[in-house]
């Protein structure tokens, strides 16, 4: 394989890793605040994709020029993000909140229940077949310095990079962000109301919002969505979150990029059937040496679930 193709594969890996990272941040945020693996997150993202499909099909029935296209996509991302954020809050308030004091594995079953319900909603909404995203741009590729970049991939970057930057600003500079980080570093939130409660709501909203934004990127990248995509993407994103150190936001982003890269490279070298196995093998081997993930902190409480 020559250098140009290799770099192209890396490019694909990084773009897919970008939105995987955003979804992984969703998992990590929720885990950091309420100690729950929100298995339904992938399906929330899938529903965001359904919504953005509807919006884009409505706004862009024929391909348009790059500027309008980008604006439309950003708009779709924002709407989808709002939708997913609110959906996440609803899920938390109605399903997870009553279970804050339940035995540790019971909320897990609820997340799976929610996942099934959302998947069914997706099935009814878009049907069982793959649904195609509309062509947004007139030209599908553009040459930059000798490489041809797909406009779709540029679009993904346009969505993902600002999202990550805003996230960074949010977490570092605002009061909300600081309290989020301090909570994640110390303990898990179990209180039902008050400051902590508001924090939980905000966390769920944020994770949903990022997921919604990522769904648009995923749809543009893969050009199709189907009602089962939440599961596969969710699995990769969860792996990314764990790889980066669950509870750590930068870890989730970095984990996402790494997972995307591993996937693309293993498809190129080993063939498409080994992609998911490679990702998990890397994860398992990595965890054997550094169980807390890349940015995670090793806790000394042994035997703690």
């Amino acid at each position: 394989m020559d250098v140009a193709s290799f770099l192209q594969q890396c490019g694909i890996g990084i773009t897919s890793g970008g939105f995987l990272g955003l979804i992984a941040v969703g998992y990590t945020l929720v885990y950091g605040t309420v100690g729950l693996i929100h298995f339904a997150h992938g399906d929330v993202v899938m529903l965001g994709g359904c919504l953005s499909l509807a919006i884009l099909s409505f706004l862009v029935p024929v391909p348009v020029d790059p500027l309008t296209g980008c604006l439309v996509v950003v708009l779709a991302a924002a709407c989808s993000g709002l939708f997913c954020g609110c959906l996440n809050i609803c899920i938390d308030q109605f399903v997870y909140r009553p279970l804050r004091n339940a035995p540790p594995l019971s909320p897990l079953v609820s997340t799976i229940g929610v996942s099934f319900v959302l998947m069914n909603v997706g099935l009814i909404w878009i049907g069982p077949t793959d649904r195609a995203f509309p062509e947004i741009f007139l030209e599908t590729t553009r040459s930059v310095g000798g490489f041809s970049i797909a406009m779709a991939d540029l679009l993904v970057l346009v969505i993902v990079v600002p999202a990550v930057l805003c996230l960074y600003v949010l977490l570092r500079q605002t009061r909300f962000g600081r309290s989020l980080r301090s909570i994640a570093a110390i303990t898990r939130v179990t209180a039902r109301s008050g400051e902590a409660g508001k924090l939980v709501i905000a966390t769920f909203f944020l994770s949903g919002f990022l997921g919604g934004v990522a769904s648009v990127a995923a749809g543009v990248h893969a050009t199709t969505i189907n009602y089962q995509m939440g599961h596969q993407m969710g699995l990769y994103a969860l792996t990314a979150a764990v790889l980066g150190g669950i509870g750590s936001v930068p870890g989730a982003i970095v984990g996402g990029l790494i997972v995307g890269l591993i996937r693309a490279i293993s498809v190129a070298f080993l063939g498409p059937r080994w992609a998911i196995a490679s990702v998990f093998l890397v994860l398992i081997i990595f965890l054997a040496f550094r169980p807390q993930g890349i940015f995670g902190k090793s806790k000394t409480r042994g035997g703690q679930r």
């Binding site: 192209q8 069982p128 077949t129 797909a150 893969a222 498809v267």
Partner: protein, 421 residues
Amino acid sequence: MRSNWFCPQNPPPFRLAWSVVVCLTIGLNTCGCQKIESNRVCLVSSLPRTGVSRQVSDEVVRGIRLAIDEVKEKAGRFTLEYRDLDNSAAASGRWTSEGEAANARMAVQDPNVMAYIGTLNSGAARVSMPILNYADLLMVSPANTAVGLTKPGLGLPGEPNVYRPSGKLNYIRVVPADDLQGPLAADWAFERGVRRVFVIDDAGVYGRGVASLFADRCREQGMAVLEHVSIDPQAAEFKSFVGSVMSADPDLIYFGGSARTKGGQLARDLVSAESEAILLVSDGCRTKAFLEAAGAASLEGRCFATSAGLSPEQADCNEKLLFLRYRQKYGTCPSNAAIHGYEAARLVIRAIADVGVKDRRAIVESAFASQVDDGVLGQWGIDANGDTTLQEVSVSVVRGGEFVHEEVMSTAGIGKKNGSR
């Protein structure tokens, strides 16, 4: 506390509710066609009825129902009852071996069932064939094309005898197998001047089989088979993979599989990577679902599909009486799947009517001896292996958002050069 060491909560009302639930489920299940009735015969079909495959299985079922309506639900002195069984699971939207095995066992254990029309997927047939064979139940498939199911020496070692544990045959299919479709597709490609092919399949029984046969024939014809790769049918997209396909620079890309196993997504990714190669897909992709998933507009004129038998658009939809009746009932022209479902059901109904008694073995033998002169597919019979004697494969092209018939390929025997129209 001690007496309740097994169930710490208060058990009696719970156990009572439990027994009631169990009895209810028994009741629900036993009021099926379980009792032996002298004048009713049950016809069962086992197809994937959820998910992407539903479009195709709907058409097969329509064909079957049309055949039953034609004879006004009577086969000789028997009244026909038809049960449409699902061998798929809701969450996965594809056939499962548990579902297929359960359907086969249910058919076998019901003494009124005299024929089993199934399956759509060759992989599912491998599960139910031994079960049905032990019970001597006639099995007619409207769509299985994997060679190993009937033809000795072409499939895995031991096929097809492993599917006939009782030693006798009970399986018939009304479509020509892939030992026709694969090689004729290669001949067609050779005629078009293709010299470099990249072969892809979905790793399933059917997809891998037809792709391998295609690749073998390509090599025989002297074409360069650059690579033969299986994709992961669960992947969301194939951008990375498509990159490696492009760098091999093929003239033609072949895909053995279906829309359910991501044929459409693969086609879409190939087109968006600006591949200039011709795309040739097997009959599993000759469906609406594939065109929708791939984006029919982008495939215009460059995507071809093979299908077993004659393609329906060949015959004028207004001509044949059957097509008219189908259109009357369902509003559209019948597709390939519907026609084969219809022929399969007709074969079964005739066999049942001819035999006149509820003897499964006799019905099987009668079916094997069938000769069809007045069907939509032309004249055909069943050979000693259970295959149809039809030997035609059609090639269609995507035009105007649909598959349009292009040419017919046929051969009198495998290994000869093609005899196209």
